[in-house]
Structure formats: C-alpha cells, structure tokens
Symmetry: C2
Subunit: 397 residues, 2 copies
C-alpha cells in the first residue's frame, strides 16, 4: 500500500515551511506584514455579491459542464470590447486559472512529455504538471536583465521530440515582467517552427504600469490553432476566493476534448459563476483603477529596494510582484530569521524565498519575491522594516 511516485515526488509549497514560524511570531504578539502571497486587499466589486443574492437559488443545481451561459457570454463580450473575438464553443469555465492549466497539461501532454517555461515561474505550475506526469523544462531568465527571455537559440536547444508546449504567465508571476512584442513574436516563431502549443496565462493582463500595454497572445495572427489562453477573475477583479477561471482557444478539436475533462468533474460552482458574470460585465476601465493602485504600491517597493546597496532588480512592469536579488547568501534563512528572530517595534515582514520559483537547482538562492498587495501606508512601513532588517541581518552574520 504505497503512495504513487507522482504524488510523493510533488513539491510542497515553498512558503509552507514558513507558515508555522509566522504563526508562532503572531502568537508572540508580532504583527506580520504578508508580502508573501498574491492575496490582494482590494475589495471585490459589489456587483459580485449582488448578482449572487439576486439569483434564484431555491435549488442549487448543477451548472453546465462548459460553464453558465451568462458567464460565457459575459467573457465573450468582455474580450470583444477589448478587441478579441471568441465564440461560444471556444470558452470553457474552470475552477480558477489553476484548473485551466491542469486541463491544458492533460490535453497537450502524455506522461513523460515536456513543457518549456521561463524560470523563475509561479511554483504551482509544478503542481499542475507533475500531478499529471508532465515535466517542466526551464528557460532561465535573470534579475540583471529584468527576467526577459534569452535569445531564440538558447530556447530552441531545449526542444526535443517530447516537447509539446511552451507555457508562461504574462505579465509574469513572480517577476512582474511584461513580454515585449518582439518576445511574443519569437515565441510564435518557435511554436510554429517546432509545432508546439502556446499556453498563455494572462490572469494578470491589464495590470501594466507606466503606460505600458500588456498585449494578449490572442492579438497575434497565425497561431489561432495552437494558442491556449488562461484567464481568471482572481487578480483582475480581486476575487481570488471565487475560483472562477476560463480556458479559451480557437482550436475547436482541442476545446471539444477539454470539454470531456469538464464533463468528468460535472461543473464549476454555480453561484460563483453568476457573480463572475457580473464582474466581466463591468466597464473595461475598472482595470485602470486597479492598475493605478498597484502602480503606486510598486513605486514604494521599487524606491525602497533601490535605496538598499547590493539589491539587484529591474523596475517591475506589471502584475503585483517583484523578484529582487538581496545582498545576502541565503534568502530562505533570511525569511525565517525575519519571522523567528527579528522585529522592528513589534512588527516584521513575511516574504517568499525565490528559490522555489526556479526549477534549476541552486538558482534564486539569494532572491525573494515581494507581493505588493497591501495599502500604501502598510507597504511603506513593511518596506522600511525590510530595509532595516537587512542591515541588522548583515551585521549579525
């Protein structure tokens, strides 16, 4: 009675070992600023709960496997207003972007197949793939170059007959990097030349700072058949707990097959779909409001980081994360120390050590991911604690 190799081999959440230490700190009366997770503090638009409360919920019935028609229509209309055209059978509703990514892995890969991915990457991509025996092959990117992609030949040499897709989040979690149009064109070229699917996780789309536009891969022509788009209400509408996402593609055979996965798990929670339809029906410029909030927070984080000698990072362009190289040896040790041995006037910060975002052994050891998901005053305070803590930590060692 042995557990499967695939589950035993799965990585535990890299911030997980910090959680009990943070809990202990709180028990000691320390206030912990959580910069370690992408849980925004911004209120979910009221229309979400209003739609749910207005729904006739006498019998909470199964929804359709493909999703509630009202939500699918709202998504199609949202994309249409944004210049992209999807049809009814090109959108399937999923349990968050997470399920969409698992479905994309199952649909494109058999056990042992490979997906290319720029590292550092969102650690849960490990889970979505390893649980279904797909291997992620990292394309290494670096803090020094703002985590932009390496040259085409660097990427192409990672491709073999097992490579089935290239996956990335844009804007990037954990880096906050936005792909340039040139990078997007290069991905398109590689995918066409090597016959790969493109899995574009665009859950942070619209969160682009300094007037930059974060383009959707769906704007590129000639890859309609190979593009799999992943979307979600979690970040764009600050509704992480709704667990509503979508998988979208113009490859109808693919969608017809992914529908079988949808049918197997019957449907996504009905009420949350009703709420999500209201979110997607809001004016497009709601995204600007959210972006402006994060841009101010980004500024606070970046300015403070630049005041610390030895920190390496480019100004993040989108999402609400930054990966920074700190003037220390071991970021995990530093993050633990912040929680179990340090406080500034009874307060400390919790960060995510970046090592867990890399697949290549040894990379990211002196890097952390900072999620700027707190109000400006709190971000200000949290960052000055971090700055102060680094001084103390370095003196100690």
């Amino acid at each position: 009675m042995k557990l499967s190799d695939r589950i035993l081999g799965m990585q535990e959440s890299p911030v997980r070992k910090l959680v009990p230490v943070a809990t202990k700190a709180k028990k000691r009366g320390i206030k912990v600023y959580h910069l370690n997770i992408g849980q925004p503090d911004i209120e979910t638009p009221k229309c979400f709960m209003e739609a749910i409360e207005a729904y006739d919920s006498k019998v909470i019935k199964y929804s359709f496997s493909q999703g509630e028609p009202v939500l699918i229509d709202a998504i199609i209309d949202y994309y249409k207003r944004d210049g992209m055209h999807y049809e009814e059978d090109e959108v399937l509703i999923t349990n968050g972007g997470s399920e969409a990514l698992t479905f994309a892995s199952i649909a494109t890969c058999n056990p042992g197949d490979e997906i290319l991915i720029p590292e550092p990457f969102y650690t849960n991509y490990n889970g979505f793939t390893s649980e279904v025996n797909v291997n992620l092959v990292p394309i290494t990117t670096k803090a020094e170059t703002g985590f932009h992609l390496p040259k085409k030949e660097e990427i192409v040499k990672l491709i073999n007959e097992k490579t089935k897709a290239i996956l990335f989040s844009n804007p990037g979690n954990p880096t906050g990097t936005i792909l340039t149009l040139e990078e997007m064109e290069m991905i398109k070229e590689i995918a066409i030349e090597h016959d790969l699917f493109i899995i574009s996780d665009e859950v942070y789309r619209k969160m682009a700072f300094d007037g930059l536009i974060s383009h959707s891969m769906a704007e590129l022509e000639g890859i309609e058949d190979r593009l799999i788009l992943v979307d979600s209400v979690s970040k764009r509408f600050s509704a992480c707990g709704a667990r509503i996402g979508a998988i979208m593609s113009k490859n109808k055979l693919l969608m017809k097959n992914i529908l079988k996965l949808c049918q197997a798990r019957l449907c996504v929670a009905t009420l949350e779909q009703i709420g999500a339809a209201a979110l997607y029906s809001m004016p497009l410029d709601y995204a600007d409001h959210i972006r402006d909030i994060y841009q101010k927070r980004r500024d606070i984080v970046y300015e403070t980081l630049m005041q610390i000698p030895g920190v390496v990072c480019e100004k993040p362009q989108g999402a609400f994360y930054v990966v920074a190289k700190l003037p220390i040896e071991d970021a995990e040790d530093f993050c633990l120390w912040l929680l179990d041995s340090y406080d500034h006037e009874g307060e400390t910060v919790m960060l995510a050590p970046a090592q867990g975002f890399y697949a290549t052994e040894g990379l990211g050891k002196n890097e952390v991911r900072i999620a700027y998901v707190l109000k400006e005053e709190e971000m200000q305070r949290a960052m000055s604690i971090l700055k102060e803590a680094l001084l103390v930590y370095k003196q100690k060692s």
Copy 2:
C-alpha cells in the same frame, strides 16, 4: 501539434448524444421528463444561502488549501454525531466528490496502474481515472442478482501487481444497490490480503430505504490506514451546484500528500464552503426527510417497472437510481426513439442507456438507468409514459 492520447481516449458522456435530440423534441413543443440525470428537484436548505449572505464578503479571499476551518469543523462534528471520528488533518475539502476521486486516483496510482470497480458504475469514474492514466478493471455484477458482488474468488482473480485500489459507490450509482455488511467485510479482506487502498464513495450514504442502514466503510476496524472516504453535499443536501465535497482518511501520510494537490489548485470556492458548513451543521435527521421523499418515488418507479412484462430488476435499496433490464434489444435506440419519434399527449421521457455504465464491451445493451428525481405526480406520469412507450416500441419492431 497533436492532442495527447489520454485526452483523445477519454469517453464522451454517454447521455451526451441524446442531449441535442432532447433539445429538438422540446423545440417541437414536447415536454420531456428528465429521468436521465441525478439532478434532484428538492430545495436546497435555506441555511445554505443564509450563511452565504451573512458572510463578510468585502474581499472574496483565497480560502485555505485544506478547506475553510468552519467547514472542516462542521464535517468532523457531523461524522461524530453519526458515530465516526475524524481529526482536523484527516479531512480535506474538494471541488465536489469529483475532485476527491481524481485526487484519490493520482495519490494511489502511477500511470498504467489499475483500480478494481464493480460494474455498472458511475460513468464519470472513467474520467477521473483515464485523465490521469489509471485503468479501471471491472468486477461484473448483474441485474438478476440486484447488482450485488460476485464471490471473492471472482474478484481476486482480477488482481495483479498493478492493482492499487478498489473503488465503489455505496449506495450505488447507477444501481441503487447497498452493500451488505458481508460484502463490506469481503472488500476489507481482499484489500488487506492484496494490500489495496479502499476508495469508498459515500455521497449517497443515508439514502437507504425500507429501514435498511447503509453502513460507512469507516465503521469497519482494521482498515483505517487504507480507507479513503469520499463525501459531498450534492445529493444528501440537494446542493449539486455548490461543488463541495471532501476526501477523508486516517492515513496521515496520504492526507499530507493529497494536501499538495490541494495546494496546487489553491482552494475551493470560499462562499460555497461557508454555505456547506451550514448544511453539515443541520440535525442528522434531515437525511430522513430526504430519504422518505425518494423512497416514495422509488416505490412508484419499481411498481410500474414490475407491471411491465420482461423487465428485470431488483427493488433498489438506496440512492435515487435503478438500472432495469428492458424487454428490448437496444436501449440506446429506444432512448433515442423516445425523444425523436414518440410522445404521449405531447410528453415523453429521457432515460440514460446503461451501456455507458459498463466497462465490459457489450454489457448493459438492453438496460437503462432511471433517476427518480422528480415529484411523485411527475414520476407517476413519466413512468406511465415509459410503460406505454415500451408497448408501442415493441409493436413497431
């Protein structure tokens, strides 16, 4: 750019090809009684929506990966009141029973491994397993013997070094059969002797008729380490669209590993968990109320079936299904004919051909599954249409 073999090999929903035919019938003005799906018409208890409306939902945050503490506590308390004892780290909340079953497949099997299952079985079990490259090996059971298990030696000879678990729903979907204590003891013996996990899908538990008790596998001693229980609010509380289920086991290593799967998909929808906590907090005897409703419907179905010459089925003991052998050649043809060529005063019925519930080629060809999920008057009417239709169909052929 080929899709994976595993997704191409997945079965489509067996009732799916009937759906467009039913839609056409409705467009012709025909009323269709849906006896083809397990979607109860019973109202979801009001406490579900009341709890959601009372929840502070300013920010719809991620819930915990293991589930909302209030829901886990409510489930533990529910089982305690029912004589079973589970601890906090022995319960994980899932997206319906569906996700629990996928997680159980991943955790117990590597690609190519096998799970034993009595057939006919709930067709979606095919999905939960084939999407993760697990093979179901059927233990054939028959209408003539009320779909009870064959002798131990019949089961044991299906076991080989790839067999990792035995899976069943009890009470049974699609059969309505309840395992006897002797059958449960036999499963226990087999599992111990051949070192298998036991995956007991108990989402229909408490729905047992005629004073029968549907025991939980958790009541048996000596299998604590190998038992994986699956539960859900869908049927017992008539809340299918909530998509709240649970996976429970006293094997802590197993649960620690399944938690990694939970972490990968972050969490289950927050609001629905709040509602589900209210459902599990209701008095245990709410189940009696539900059971009494289904028992009356079962009586109508069974009495009518017994009036039809040539029908073979035992009186179903639980859940809200029955699989009946009809005096016809091809149940799929009959089900199609009911929708596209027959009506009785403008009304017809939709049934599920049972072939899709068997893994063994050729079995169930003249059987249908009837879900008794409509009000008594409607069930009465639907069953007399079926009775009438069988006469007409036989005369025609």
